[in-house]
């Protein structure tokens, strides 16, 4: 057992650092560092740079055009990317649509869709949640009626992240009513430019726009855009959910967030004392760092098991729960560090679309915003309550 990196792993890490240093546009890095709400262009520019280098679909095996990295390499790539202020790679294409397509898709589907994901020329979104089926995903009601060579889709999705940027959606629809709600669900790929699709923004509590409601009014979807068999969509969706939870631990991003809060606390003065030397604030920072260290080790242990061929299983729920809680806690400390400067609300600066002067210190502009925004982490991707149900049932047999 050995925590240290092997020479090959060290060389890999050095490569990643060099590539990012030479290729990450400084304006994008600045926006990430300041915690601004990134635009579509910011994401696409960086993802296409990675795509041209073969690193956008960095979790993919070589046979599908990925780099075929080991779990340790993937981990290093994520942590270094976060450390160096890269935008998070949007998961909808390379982490979600991609693996489903290359695992369950037809050769034609692979040929048609995988290159755009690898190159990040196409923005994908995820059509899962519906107004009446929050955590109870299987109760979805969006209907796809058989019309010969195509389906006619009617219904509504909600909480669809970045649907307003998206070219394509992978989507769960009901093609039949069966006894168990999990049956009769199919997995469709839908062109977002199809007639009959309306995207309406849902503003978040802190004022930004990430989520949407998507309405389907007699939308025609060719049957060859269906993944796998009709009625077996739940299987493909479940395959994804487990992988998503491991990702949700998001160790790299959280470590970077902690460094930033430490930097804020070093800059803030309480009287003549830097806040980071205030015993109580310091204690909270150290307590959360201790928890983050455990979490990182837990994630590495899971990766190590995955590398030996085991499925992550319900432990991924555990990482999702704690990963989101720790990230939220860090954002809370960041807000607390700014004292009264948590109050000013400067949406133009938060969106990076204004040159106005910050009211308080630079780092305070997004501090409260970031805290508010992160409350959604324990809700999305299957709420933390649902994750606890999963652990109770699948892992503990309760």
């Amino acid at each position: 057992m050995e925590l240290k990196l092997s020479p090959a792993e060290q060389a890999f890490a050095a490569d990643v650092r060099t590539f990012i240093r030479d290729n990450l546009p400084p304006d994008i890095a600045g926006r990430v560092r300041r915690g601004e709400h990134l635009g579509k262009d910011d994401h696409m520019r960086w993802q296409q740079i990675l795509g041209r280098h073969g690193w956008h679909a960095f979790t993919w095996p070589q046979e599908h055009g990925g780099p075929g990295w080991s779990v340790v390499q993937r981990y290093l790539f994520e942590v270094i990317s976060a450390e160096m202020d890269c935008p998070i790679i949007q998961p909808f294409g390379p982490r979600m649509a991609g693996p489903v397509i290359y695992t369950f898709g037809t050769p034609e589907q692979k040929e048609r869709f995988l290159p755009g994901i690898r190159q990040s020329t196409v923005w994908w979104c995820q059509g899962y949640s519906e107004p009446q089926s929050g955590s109870d995903l299987a109760s979805l009601a969006t209907r796809a009626d058989d019309a010969g060579d195509h389906y006619v889709v009617n219904g509504q999705k909600i909480w669809t992240s970045y649907a307003h940027h998206a070219d394509w959606m992978f989507c769960l629809v009901r093609t039949a009513r069966e006894e168990r709600p999990q049956q009769g669900i199919s997995f469709l790929l839908i062109d977002m430019t199809s007639p009959g699709i309306t995207v309406k923004p849902i503003l978040m509590l802190e004022g930004t726009h990430s989520f949407n409601a998507v309405f389907f009014d007699n939308v025609r979807v060719p049957k060859n855009n269906r993944i796998g068999e009709e009625g077996r969509g739940w299987t493909y969706a479940k395959f994804l959910l487990e992988h998503e939870r491991v990702d949700n631990a998001a160790i790299g991003v959280t470590k970077q967030a902690l460094s930033q809060v430490k930097a804020i606390a070093a800059a803030e003065r309480d009287g003549d004392t830097p806040l980071i030397d205030d015993p109580l604030f310091q204690a909270k920072l150290i307590a959360v760092e201790a928890q983050l260290m455990s979490l990182e080790m837990a994630a590495l242990r899971v990766l190590s098991q995955v590398a030996s061929g085991a499925s992550p299983g319900p432990v991924s729920s555990l990482l999702k729960i704690r990963g989101t809680e720790v990230a939220q806690r860090i954002s809370e400390l960041g807000m607390e560090a700014t004292a009264y400067y948590a109050l000013p609300y400067q949406p133009g600066l938060i969106a990076g679309q204004s040159n106005e002067e910050p009211i308080g210190p630079d780092y305070a502009v997004t501090a409260a915003n970031n805290y508010f925004w992160r409350r959604c982490m324990s809700i999305y991707g299957g709420s933390n309550e649902i994750q606890r149900n999963i652990i109770a049932k699948a892992m503990l047999g309760l």
Binding site: S129, Q132, S133, G134, S135, D136, S139, I158, W159, I202, L203, M204, L205, E206, G207, F211, E268, R269, D270, G271, D278, L280, F281, E332, M335, E336, A339, Y340, Y341, A342, L343, P344, Y345, Q346, I359, G360, A368, N369, Y371, F372, R375, C376, S378, I379, Y380, S383, N384, E385, R388
Partner: protein, 393 residues
């Protein structure tokens, strides 16, 4: 000992609740927010209902109410997420009532009670965090009065205040406990730049740049250099007031969450049939009751003559308010699921206001330090208490 509301207090509570229910539903509130966070007709209503005169003495034109009476109104302010700068104005009025000459009262307190002017207290500075004595803004005596130089920040209510009470140093160094004075500064004073802005909780605030603001001799409020005590009392009073406001907001969140748990269905049954969520709802309600008790303790402590005892009680209460406001706010959002993190539901707005209350007038850490400092002073002046050991028996 008597912890029941008087008849007058019950009537006041009913009138506040009626206003919030009838005139301050969430949609109406959002409209006021979109219009800059202030409704002139509402302000007139506040004056007509006597709210703006509640805490002031009858001889000053007020109603001679107590901190508990103010808390009754503030609980409604919290429940309705009221945007108008009621508390900043009352807080400024309190300083005037405590320190001003009768001419100054006539000039400022009378119109304030009549709803004709809105005030705000400018105490914080960019470097001060929560330390009221950490003041670098300076006021120098000139032949004709005073001249102010410096910067005040995050003046809550300052976005639409007609005038400010500015804390400035007439002597001493940054963080000295003496040498602070209060000045009445009209928003349109020469040399004063007011940067008005929105805040995360919708209340609105301002930063002030004072570049040689020239004021007459009557701008000085109270004795020169002795402002810290009344200022601490005013901030303690405002802390008790936001504690009550937080109770109102938490009560609204508990009601909303309980209703949602009963109505929202998942997996074919109401969310509220999940025992894990029931217990969390219970913990929210327990936190609300603790907050209510803490806020009551805070208001009652404002009659305390001993400033140290008063501040200690206020700090303990604020620690509790910080803890409970954070817990209830976070849990209400979480139990509402994705709806809880949207702008369109009131839940997120309560959560944001509670977050700001927790961080206002000193966060929990700051109040812990204040209690610790007060206790250390007591220990130094009191004989040591024996440890509960055998030898001490």
């Amino acid at each position: 000992m008597d912890l029941e509301y008087s008849t007058e207090q019950s009537l006041l509570r009913d009138s506040v609740e009626r206003f919030v229910r009838d005139d301050y539903a969430f949609q109406a509130r959002q409209k006021i927010l979109a219009n800059g966070g202030f409704s002139a007709p509402h302000w007139t209503t506040f004056a007509e209902l006597g709210w703006l005169g509640i805490p002031f003495a009858e001889e000053d034109g007020g109603f001679g109410g107590s901190a508990v009476d103010l808390a009754v109104i503030m609980e409604g302010v919290g429940r309705g997420l009221v945007l108008e700068p009621f508390l900043p104005t009352i807080m400024a009025g309190g300083l005037i009532a405590a320190a001003a000459s009768s001419a100054q009262k006539q000039a400022w307190l009378t119109p304030l009670i009549a709803g004709e002017c809105k005030l705000a207290v400018a105490f914080a500075e960019p470097q001060s965090r929560y330390d009221l004595a950490d003041c670098t803004t300076r006021a120098a005596a000139t032949g004709a009065g005073w001249r102010l130089e410096g910067r005040k920040c995050v003046v809550v209510g300052g976005k639409i205040a007609d005038a400010f009470i500015v804390v400035a140093r007439t002597s001493g160094d940054r963080r000295d406990r003496t040498g602070l004075s209060l000045f009445l500064v009209p928003a349109d004073a020469d040399g004063l730049t007011v940067r008005r802005y929105d805040t995360n909780d919708g209340q609105g605030a301002a930063d002030l740049e004072l570049a040689g603001v020239a004021l007459g001799p009557d701008a000085l409020l109270g004795p020169d250099g002795a402002a810290l005590d009344p200022l601490e009392r005013a901030v303690d009073g405002a802390t008790a007031a936001v504690a009550a406001e937080a109770v109102g907001a938490m009560a609204a969140l508990c009601d909303a969450t309980l209703a949602y748990l009963k109505v929202r269905k998942q997996f074919g049954k109401p969310l509220g049939s999940n025992q894990a969520l029931q217990h969390r709802m219970v913990d929210m309600v327990i936190a609300l009751e603790e907050a209510r008790s803490a806020a009551l303790a805070a208001s009652l402590s404002m009659t305390e003559d001993d400033a140290a005892a008063r501040s200690r009680a206020i700090s303990l209460a604020k620690i509790e308010i910080g803890r409970t406001a954070t817990k209830v706010g976070q849990e209400a959002v979480q139990l509402h699921g994705a709806m809880g993190v949207t702008d369109e539901l009131d839940v997120g707005h309560y959560f944001k206001r509670l977050t700001i209350i927790a961080t206002s007038f000193g966060n929990a850490d700051w109040h812990i330090r204040r209690v610790a400092a007060l206790d250390a002073a007591t220990r130094r002046s009191a004989p040591e208490q024996p440890a509960p050991g055998r030898t001490a028996a």
